[in-house]
Symmetry: C2
Subunit: 332 residues, 2 copies
């Protein structure tokens, strides 16, 4: 049986109140302080955060709801979010939605029952109703990366449309006319990147036939199947924009398998820089997101809401991106 505050009361002869005060950083006579510290050491006492949480109604735990914990993108975000949270003494209760909206909705209720102080979410769903129970329970919520189409929550992300629009110039300025896109269409980022792509094409006076628009899920399979399809078209595109990490992975796999070479046969532009892409020859042009800043800003915002320091209406923070240059684009 782990030691409780009562054990250290017996050991020191002090009252519960005094010990509790010490535990919470209050002022205690130096002699009592010494006694308490000795007892804590001797009994291997560790505060029971469950009991503490019951009375303070705070758990110093933040719920993290991720669309898929397997994604490297998620791993990086989690790393930065976790570090920022720990710095403030908070822990993370992570739940994996496995890219499934039903699981996601259940996970929200789970987090509520666990009395987390706040929730950070990288959502699967594109509408916000699954978060209603948390909102009603008064739990602050901050989204990362993907915002929701109906309700506005605090959100820290990049400007997907603008970033894509800007990156597309690399292909367009090198005289590519037949440019295809492989994008996810279910979530926010995929749609916004699609919009940025279409805008860039329209502004350049370029047409995008439907067979050049592959829109499916955020997955390696989408990239793989999409590229495979594109490479079998009688009129192959000369350039392809791939809207995220998984899709880029799948698309390159398919390109290799189909025996095409980049940039000789097809020029490529990707999203979500990951170190290993530097391994590939040629190096792919990629839009890089500020992972650390996103994680930190999200935590900062959430803790502000939890403490009540931040009270204004929901905000959307759009951070800047950086284009990682490569040699995956040929000049026509």
């Amino acid at each position: 049986m782990p030691a409780t505050i009562v054990d250290i009361k017996k050991k020191t002869g002090l009252s519960l109140a005094t010990i509790s005060k010490y535990l919470n950083g209050g002022n205690v006579l130096p002699e009592n302080k010494v006694k308490i510290e000795a007892a804590i050491k001797e009994l291997h006492y560790e505060v029971n955060e469950i009991a503490r949480g019951l009375v303070t109604n705070k758990t110093r735990t933040v719920g993290i709801l991720v669309f898929s914990i397997e994604s490297p993108f998620t791993g990086m975000i989690l790393h930065h979010v976790g570090a920022a949270l720990r710095k403030s003494g908070y822990g993370m209760l992570i739940v994996d939605s496995c890219d499934d909206e039903a699981i996601e909705a259940k996970n929200v209720k789970y987090l509520i029952s666990k009395k987390v102080d706040g929730i950070i979410v990288l959502p699967v769903a594109s509408k916000g109703d699954f978060l209603a129970p948390a909102k009603n329970a008064g739990i602050p919520i901050v989204l990362i990366d993907r915002s929701l189409s109906d309700i506005q929550y605090d959100c820290v992300r990049i400007d997907n449309r603008k970033s894509t629009y800007h990156a597309m110039k690399e292909l367009i300025s090198r005289n590519h006319k037949k440019i295809a896109i492989i994008a996810s269409e279910r979530e926010y980022t995929g749609r916004e990147r699609y919009n940025g792509f279409m805008e860039a094409m329209r502004d350049a006076g370029l047409d995008v036939p439907v067979e050049y628009q592959v829109r499916a899920t955020h997955s390696i399979a989408t990239g793989y199947n999409g590229m495979k399809k594109l490479m079998t078209l009688k009129d192959r595109p000369t350039g392809v924009f791939m809207s995220n990490y998984e899709i880029t992975l799948g698309a390159m796999l398919a390109m290799n398998e189909a025996g095409f070479k980049c940039p000789d046969d097809v020029s490529l532009l990707g999203f979500d820089d990951q170190l290993f892409f530097h391994l590939l020859q040629p190096q792919i042009y990629m839009v890089e997101q500020p992972m650390k800043a996103m994680g930190e800003r999200a935590v900062e915002l959430l803790l502000g809401r939890i403490s009540g320091v931040v009270v204004e209406d929901p905000v959307e923070i759009a951070l800047g991106t950086r284009l990682q240059k490569g040699n995956s684009i040929r000049t026509l």
Copy 2:
């Protein structure tokens, strides 16, 4: 304010005990059941797991202590562990050690204070003393992937030595004599793979000069620096074994930068298959670990300990691996 059991007592006129019984799946008169369910719906009641945990002394939460949450290996394990845990109604409180033993030790105490029912750990440290507080607190512990050198805990892993020994035959049987290794030396897996490598070389009557033995941390940098060094030796190795995912990544990056080609200039054998390695040309021979099985077995074992069903001494479960063939090894 969220509704409590008292609110639904008022609403239904039933006693706390009856409601509690219903909540825990006990038998209640159909009419009362209806009343309670209606009240729950109306008041948006969700059980307060904190309060429940205080009395039952169970949180139905498992602490997960990972060496680095950024690692793709970790992401995959977490995915499978999380799924298995959820199936049994458990959640995960994940803490990231950031490859730092000091943080790791603190994290153990954190998990204890959070009263997790059990702990799954992918350790940074190679000795087990950092887990002593949890052990003393009577919290069941299961290691995944890496076992510890001093104390024996339950551990689910692969046979690193044997897997490596077996895989090395691919290089040796193709007449490679000058084979180098880049391995992490700090943790269990790296050391075991090193041992398997050395054994295979010794049994083949091959010498491994010290300059062919690069041993450092489990990181991309190690692979990168290691390969860079190997490629500048006057007497370059013809084959290189890379002991894990990060090292493989770094090593290939360096090889590309140094202008060498695989398998023409150097033959490669790696560890930790990841889908994206299929992208690379040539495809790398790699030892693949049974991620799903490892996660599931670990959860099974831990829940068995928690429930008291499993009581025997700590066990080490070594699962089998599979060699993913490629074309990264040239016949000399």
